[in-house]
Amino acid sequence: MTKTKMRLVVIGNGMAGIRTIEELLKMSADEFDITVFGAEPQPNYNRILLSPVLSGEMKFQDTVLNDWSWYEENHITLHTGKTVTKIDRVRCTVETDDGIVTPYDRLLIATGSNPIMLPVPGINLPGVLGYRSIDDVEKMLAAAQPGKRAVVIGGGLLGLEAANGLSLRGMDVSVVHLCEWPMERQLDKVGGGLLKEALEKRGLKFYLSRQTDAILGETAVTGLRFKDGEEIAADLVVMSAGIRPNIALAKSAGIHCERGIVVSDTMQTYDPKIYSVGECVQHRGQTYGLVAPLFEQAKVAANHLARYGAMRYEGSSVSTKLKVTGIDLFSAGDFNPVAGDDELLLQDAARGVYKKLVLRDNKLRGAVMYGDTVDGPWYFQMMRDGTDVSGMREHLLFGQMHIGDSGHGGTAAVASMPDTAEVCGCNGVCKGTIVNTIIDKKLFTLDEVRAHTKASASCGSCTGMVEAILANTLGGDYSAKPSKKPICGCTEYAHQDMYKTIRERELKAIPEVMQALEWKTPDGCHVCRPALNYYLLAAWPGEYVDDSRSRFINERVHANIQKDGSYSVIPRIWGGVTTPSELRSIAEIAERYEVPTVHITGGQRIGLYGITKENLPKMWGELVEAGFVSGHAYGKSLRTVKTCVGSEWCRFGTQDSTGLGIKVEQMTWGSWTPHKFKIAVSGCPRNCAEATIKDFGVVCVDSGYELHVGGNGGVKVRVTDFLCKVESEAEVLEYCGAFMQLYREDAHYLDRTAPWIERVGLPYIKRHIVDDEQGRAELYARFLKSQQYSQDDPWRERAEGKEAHEYVALATIG
């Protein structure tokens, strides 16, 4: 059967247009006949890397994103060196300067932008160039002879990169700029001043607050005259006074344009058959000149072209990093404070470091950093997430390393890490491998890095570091993870909305969710199914039937798989307190099953290792007989409640920490949570149970109980945040249950409490758990209700025959 394909014509063979095609091919590879027109003679290349080509740090070949064969392999008709001169919206055709007429069903305009050429005399002289294409770069390189003089008009990001490149090529370079300091759109006066000094040390000359009156020369450029009459000599003039969306074609076709081609949140122009993406568009009054927004737009446009209709583009916040080797500069958001904003400043002239943060209503509004930019991506993420930073304000300026008392996060340190340092411990991937793969394979997103290097593809605890490496390697080109990102490739829905959507639309089974929310795959994948299973379980306690087919192996068989395919068995030992008779039972069972390794775990329990799968149910039966239940050491669930001996024995003990720990464990065991959840109760501030690196920690004091939340002792050590102090054990139980329930309802699946709290901010937690008495009581009630259905011991059920097929072979042959 031959189906008539839709005809998609793309005007513009640049990054935005081709990225849209790539996204479209991912979604529906066969639906379109695609034709691409490019005015430049090259295949699609990475325009952002023009500066390294100019400076000699890269070759053009390294910047090609899609070579000729890519177009062939994907059956895309490519016309390079052809300019589309006419769009006939009635007949739905486009026409080129040399007379090719191509019909379309859908049209995508991605014509990008043009450099602004100042309307001054002499602008058309040979030797006056824009800075926008590889062609411009080649002309500049041809003119760039050591010792000759270049003048760059425009001291913005691009102008400075051009100036730096020409200077590295041995030219004598001056920068002319209208404002008092360079890069005034990204930097304040102080930051701009530091940048100017650094560039002057590298040999650039600055003419600031100057306006060009005329470009001088008879047959070729010889110099430049300012409005104040001063003249300087030049053999080459580069115009970099900004860009202007290239809208001439769209305008001539009668498509509504203002500064750019006006598009809606679906990237459609006023003509619904015509889409537009990239630097030529104007969306909600904004135009963009950086690559990250283009990629977000491409995703949305492709989604609608493929008729999924699920996404909206809601604008981008952008950050900037200057690509001049050896100069560290980062800027994002709104960094000029207005009345009511707070400004945090750090200036260390000797180290050449300057940082400015602008806060409004306890949220980050903008950041300018010079000299030390490792925390840029961290600030930017908090800006996008709207994190309440009041809790960390005193330390905010010093960066992520200084939040909390211990080695925090580690993400900030990536810039200074050596290439040989291991980033992903699970898969043994070093920083150098990641950086090289990002450059060689031209990767832009976390998912791509995961696919190609396996870094952060297993336990995910190094995700922050990998993202920081990505951001550091790509600078402003990094399409930072949007604050809402789809759960996986099967859907456009993000974790954020899933619990709420499931509740509000009363979706009660995985297939129902997938149908209602238009999943793109028939039955999801290993990423979204466990997530949906968790959200449904949390949303409908007692009602939703756990889908074992959507559980990772450990949770499906209620034991931890080991590297040789055997399993570990860890029975629950309440509060870490046991008896000789319990120990005897464990010892006898271990001997009977010839357990090769018996290990005391970090959570005050006993782990039996090397158990074959067939033996699990039988062994559990014997443990259940001896009075044990599952320790859930394999689950995203309550693990242990660690305790010290407290006032019962310890001469420093202030409260009965052991007894309280047992009560807490009896209340919380069996609960499923977004990720594993650990609790500890220490009997005094000496804190022998290490309560301040647990998800929920209690430190007993003479007058009551201090509650701490969000600690983590794993890869990234994080000390808890102090939540509040309460007076009775009953209150400890209520706050603990309410906190766990808030975490269960609010966090994304696979978020530990630490990153969750860092995202929403401690004040958010306090508002719900400490300040709102009624809200707390309701959370606690919901937690207890859900617990009614989750404290059936899975080991007992399986010892009695449930899911027996999981534990035995189907057949033995041969």
Binding site: T521, I553, H805, G814
Partner: protein, 108 residues
Amino acid sequence: MNWIQVGKLEDIPRQGSRVVKTATGEIALFRSVDDQVFALNNRCPHKGGPLAQGIVHGKRVTCPLHSWVIDLESGAAIAPDTGCAHRHEVRIAHGALFLEAEAGVCKA
């Protein structure tokens, strides 16, 4: 061909898998959501992970050890990973499962 009956379709849960032990190693049988059955050597081409313990989705299975995704029809790892968990022929007749114990060549 040497067809051996190993069980019934209903012995394998939908979106699940079971293992058949042979003298030369384990074979994993998978049942997709639309009741097709596939068989592969129960060893991930990456580090030998037991594929039968993975999550089955579409006509794919994800290895439980390091999340490699293997195509059930060909046994090949999904790009950019490369490798093959050799497939076996399997037939369903009147609800009974027949397995060819010899591994096929890699299609990928």
